[in-house]
């Protein structure tokens, strides 16, 4: 019914990661929020998929569900499939999933300061994986940890492994985080807003580093962000999420040239531009929907300038408009062929 039906047409065995029709609910005493409502995307080896969307669109929850680190409760997977190299993960044992974490898929988080344990040295936290997953001695593991810091271009790595996270600068901390995630040489890396907490200049360095490491190692990279500027340079494909669904998916270039969903349009118009100095910055009116009470029809219709009665009644399906270009909008064809 959605993107996934179309994309499963490809050979699913060759896909590094495939998420299909994923539904996740957050249950609290007061209400049940439908956080994911049929998310589908895939990543191949060596490819960068950028997942775009506002806060609350379900980008991070999808990633956490893929990793198997969703907090349950409150989060429950109610439907869908996650396949890693063709292997179904949602029905796999917890032991198997733990085995995949770090070894096959790894994740880096937005705020490295809180994502690193404050009471252990950076080296300890990297070496831990070599010690307990590879059975290395403390000393060898520490030496490997220093190599990892070296790999992410942290100067003086041999000294810095002995330091604590709070002694690192923001950019260095995020590098350490990347080093930690790459320790066991995973082939899928999920970066959840890796540059949001950083200065602009440092952001670019971290993105370059991630891109370089992906290329060298042939990793699949899922880059979760709400920053279109970050995406433009490194993404091969982009999936735009809204209210727990993918509403547009496309190769990066075509999407930038001509978005096929009004929400994507809105996101792009809200980027500040030098040639429009002095004018008021465009923004998407309204707020993201309350996930415990998603509007009927297209969830975006209350904020959409094109909304018609059809939009209020009928949920648009994610359809392939051109090869590799998907959009879930009743006006997708108009949007894509307009000039």
């Amino acid at each position: 019914m959605s993107a996934t039906d179309d994309s499963t047409g490809g050979s699913s065995e060759s896909r590094l990661l495939e998420v299909e029709d994923l539904h996740v609910e957050f249950r609290t005493r007061e209400a049940t929020a439908n956080v994911l409502n049929g998310v589908g995307y895939h990543v191949d080896a060596g490819e960068t998929l950028a997942v775009l969307g506002e806060s609350g669109s379900g980008k991070s929850v999808t990633a956490q569900t893929v990793m198997g680190i969703l907090d349950t409760p409150p989060g429950f997977v109610t439907k869908g499939a996650i396949r890693y190299r063709g292997e179904e993960l949602l029905s796999a044992t917890e032991d198997r999933r733990r085995g995949l974490r770090g070894e096959n898929m790894a994740m880096i988080f937005q705020d490295a300061l809180s994502a690193l344990n404050p009471v252990y040295t950076v080296g300890f936290q990297i070496a831990e994986q070599f010690r307990f997953r590879r059975g290395m001695s403390r000393k060898d593991a520490m030496a490997k940890a220093a190599e990892m810091l070296d790999l992410v271009k942290i100067p003086n790595a041999k000294q810095r492994v002995k330091e604590f996270p709070h002694q690192f600068s923001g950019g260095m901390r995020q590098r350490a985080m990347i080093a930690m995630s790459l320790a066991l040489d995973p082939d899928l890396l999920i970066a959840d807003e890796p540059t949001t907490a950083l200065d602009v200049t440092v952001q670019a360095q971290i993105m370059d580093l991630l891109d370089e490491l992906r290329r060298e190692r042939g990793m699949g990279l899922i880059l979760i962000t709400h920053d279109l500027g970050v995406v433009a340079e490194v993404a091969d494909r982009i999936a735009v999420m809204y209210a727990g669904r993918v509403v547009e998916e496309s190769d990066a270039e075509s999407l930038y040239k001509r978005p096929a969903h009004p929400y994507t349009e809105g996101l792009m118009e809200s980027i500040p531009r030098l040639d429009q100095k002095g004018e008021q910055l465009a923004s998407i009116k309204g707020l993201p929907p309350n996930l415990a009470n998603i509007p009927e029809g297209c969830p975006f219709h209350p904020r959409c300038h094109r909304a018609t009665d059809e939009c209020r009644r009928k949920v648009p399906e994610l359809l392939e408009l051109r090869p590799g270009r998907y959009s879930a909008c009743h006006f997708a064809e108009e949007l894509i062929s307009s000039e």
């Binding site: 770090g102 344990n117 994986q129 604590f164 995630s181």
Partner: protein, 308 residues
């Protein structure tokens, strides 16, 4: 680390002088002549009072008295009671008892309290959690003299499992029941403190990171969660040990234990100024050192403290 400890040690000096001076002045500021009641209904002869006043420097101004007293103290002389018993002998008899009792209470409160806290946090909300919360609330609400008497009567007098009255020079075995009573309140606090800290850290980002690294749940809890959660607990335990070392007047009273708490209490009642100042000064030093130990431990557990 060395500089941190040195700095903390230097900070102890003004605190020591301040507290002991206050204690000294308060004790000797108690109205009435301390020697008035010593010689029976007829009162002491003026010559005796004069001699005693001179011996204890009571004719000199208070600050001078205090400095002279400190000087004596540092040369290891705690002075004598008015009856001529060395205060240091009294301390030597009482302190080992207090030390044993405090250690039993501490081990009890730390082991049971931390275990209960961890258990509830890992199990999540449910029966065990409610049980621990209700039990700790009960312990906090019941005064020590009540729980002390109940245990004394039930286990000591009726069941005869323990000795209801301990007496001087007790063994570890005799002190176990009083130790449990003494530690019960802090045990309840420690259980709740551990529980809260564990619950907070359970959802911390670095726990998620540790899980995302594919570490076994046992390691995530015992290495990543526990160390962070125990920082406030260790602080509490250390401070509490300092307080326990100051004696436990109520528990000692109920079980007839001759510890430091009873010694101070009796000395205050009989206006034995020398004993009071001597013992309390010692207690101040012990308490300050315990606090220093807590601070050092704190810095060892939380590296963010060390370099500020």
């Amino acid at each position: 680390m060395g500089r941190y400890i040195l700095r903390r040690l230097l900070q102890l000096i003004p605190v020591f002088i301040g507290t002991t001076f206050i204690i000294y002045s308060l004790v000797w500021a108690i109205p009435g002549n301390p020697f008035a009641g010593m010689c029976g209904p007829r009162g002491c002869p003026p010559a005796f009072i004069e001699q005693m006043t001179q011996e204890y420097n009571l004719d000199k101004p208070l600050p001078v008295q205090y400095v002279l007293y400190l000087g004596q103290l540092f040369s290891g002389n705690f002075g004598q009671t008015f009856n001529g018993i060395e205060v240091s002998t009294l301390i030597q008899n009482a302190y080992p008892v207090t030390l044993k009792l405090a250690t039993i209470a501490l081990v009890f409160e730390a082991v049971i309290g931390i275990a209960a806290g961890i258990l509830t946090a890992l199990r999540g909300k449910g029966f065990v959690d409610n049980l621990v919360l209700a039990a700790t609330l009960f312990l906090i609400a019941v005064p020590v003299f009540v729980s002390g008497f109940v245990i004394q009567v039930v286990f000591g007098v009726q069941l005869e499992w323990i000795q209801p009255s301990v007496g001087s020079d007790p063994t570890i075995g005799q002190l176990i029941a009083p130790g449990l009573v003494l530690g019960s309140l802090s045990m309840a606090y420690i259980a709740r403190l551990t529980r809260t800290a564990m619950f907070e850290n359970k959802r911390a980002d670095y726990i998620r990171t540790a899980t995302a690294k594919g570490l076994k749940p046992r390691r995530v809890v015992s290495v990543h969660m526990l160390r962070n959660s125990l920082i406030p607990v260790i602080t509490f335990i250390g401070t509490d040990f300092g307080a326990l070392m100051g004696g436990a007047i109520v528990t000692e009273g109920v079980f007839n234990i001759h510890g430091i708490g009873g010694l101070v209490f009796d000395a205050i009642k009989t206006q034995e100024g020398v004993t009071v100042t001597g013992v309390v000064t010692l207690l101040v030093v012990v308490y300050l050192l315990m606090n220093l130990l807590v601070d050092i431990l704190y810095a060892a557990l939380d590296p963010r403290i060390r370099y500020d």
